[in-house]
Subunit: 339 residues, 2 copies
Amino acid sequence: MMNRQIKLVEYAEGFPEARHFRLEEAPAPEPGPGQLLARSLWLSMDPFPRLRMSGDAARAPQLPLGGTMIGRGVARVVASRHDGFPVGTYVAGEIGWQDYYCGDGAGLRPVDPALAPIQASLGVLGPSGLAAYFATLRQGEPRPGETVVVGAAAGSVGSAACQIAMAQGARAVGIVGGPAQMAFLRELGVTPVDYTAGDLPAALAAACPRGVDLFIDTVGGATHDAVTGLLNVHARVVLVGTIANYNLAPGEADMGPRHLLRWIMQRVRISGFLVADYAAEWPAALRELAGWVREGRVRYRETVFEGLEEAPRAFAALFGSEGVGKMLVRVAADEGGDG
Amino acid sequence: MMNRQIKLVEYAEGFPEARHFRLEEAPAPEPGPGQLLARSLWLSMDPFPRLRMSGDAARAPQLPLGGTMIGRGVARVVASRHDGFPVGTYVAGEIGWQDYYCGDGAGLRPVDPALAPIQASLGVLGPSGLAAYFATLRQGEPRPGETVVVGAAAGSVGSAACQIAMAQGARAVGIVGGPAQMAFLRELGVTPVDYTAGDLPAALAAACPRGVDLFIDTVGGATHDAVTGLLNVHARVVLVGTIANYNLAPGEADMGPRHLLRWIMQRVRISGFLVADYAAEWPAALRELAGWVREGRVRYRETVFEGLEEAPRAFAALFGSEGVGKMLVRVAADEGGDG
């Protein structure tokens, strides 16, 4: 049984490309005592690993060159010497860009295939939905009638954040790139603004005639600056990600205007967000999210790339404007058997 | 009875200077129905009016050229056709840079001369103390054992903020300029860091071996950046002022590194602060502050310039490192009579 693995072979400056990765093959290991072997079914494409591919070690802990690329996914246990993960169990978590995960299962959680399609555990019923839930409700606190702007709004976090804000009675404005993403937001009832169409500050101002009360910022950079100019008194900004500067060259600083004076005049509250801070409350939030998905109050979309070898292309697409919804790689069909 | 007034005659780029102002003289007006005439005794030097002297109307509402310079002060009513302000009353508020205030008293509040020296109503028992109180306790929430860094810490807001933080069991580190300010902070039991001595980031790091949990930022600019590098997980930053960019030229942007990624990784909370938001709670806070001053838990200092004509120099000194404590101009001796 061979295990294909995608290795990181070069640190990236600018956008990640195929040449930063190499597909290698080796026999799948046998699970040792307390270990499990699981067949990868889906990989989740998330921006965060890009930071750890930087040639600038000061930015984030670097991944080792020659190591298997990190990434979350869903897998099915095919051999086990671990009591908590019997053969046939579906697991979600950090499994890496490979056909088979072998390890002690630390950080993996079981997935109930009866609840929803298993890959939803990587998106709306997983880290993406949880990030949208806690960032919007806990740190953002949208109120009825408020205007909420969401960055990267066609993505899995952004589209869920828009819908969660609307469920609180707020109006959602989503920043997206290109016609496919625009159309998706309109379907959801979100007012879309296309950042690829030119003058973003003017387009945002037109879409937010009563200013901005809450900004779920997943992008940073010039988008952050454009929204800042529209913030109302007592507005909140929740910093969820800074995709705009994940692709900076080593040593390149992310420079921009300091907004301190505006934040004082408007008494803005800005807060950095990591979903891990809310881990104790994930189960309750997942139950609530699952209910909203069943009721159709939170809808989601997937963009699927077929085959492990497509992971580098899928990962690059995450930083562009071609994808809609959760970006996934289907590594293998789920045969539901025992491998 | 002549009324000397200091007029704004030129918008300022960079630091305010004598040439931006002109002393003029005119007969003091007679109070009309519902008005009062009050003799200026003290003027408070505050950074905010500098913003309104900018040649850049986009930055803040501009003061009219040829108008009397705005400024808070304490005055004694010498003629009155206003029932709420009988002759002999001391009043504090926006009286302008002039010998006599004449108006309807809107925004003025009575001052009890038995409580403390009347000029304390401009500092520790007035806007400065209130700003320190609410910024530190409400938005900053210092906890025992935490490290609190305060900018412009020898000033009236900063020195009060340091002491209020220490009263909560926190350790205070104050950023100041020059030996006089360093000595004042040591007297208060605050660890001083001299920004004029060279490498501020290194000096701050040495003074904060366990990082920074709360930053009361009155300065902005490079100071803001230096402290940001030391922020701990779940640190708070309260934005009280941005003296560093009050003196920018028209159209000149305040540029610096975007800290979004660091704020996310550390889950920092940044909040803009204006003391006016807490107006309903000022009386209770003033009572508490007065108690702390009596008990010696909050000590204060004044730097006094003698004579109305010194106001431009006192105002410029506010942005330098020569002053300690509250910067005041004594316009006239308080003869305690009826004028």
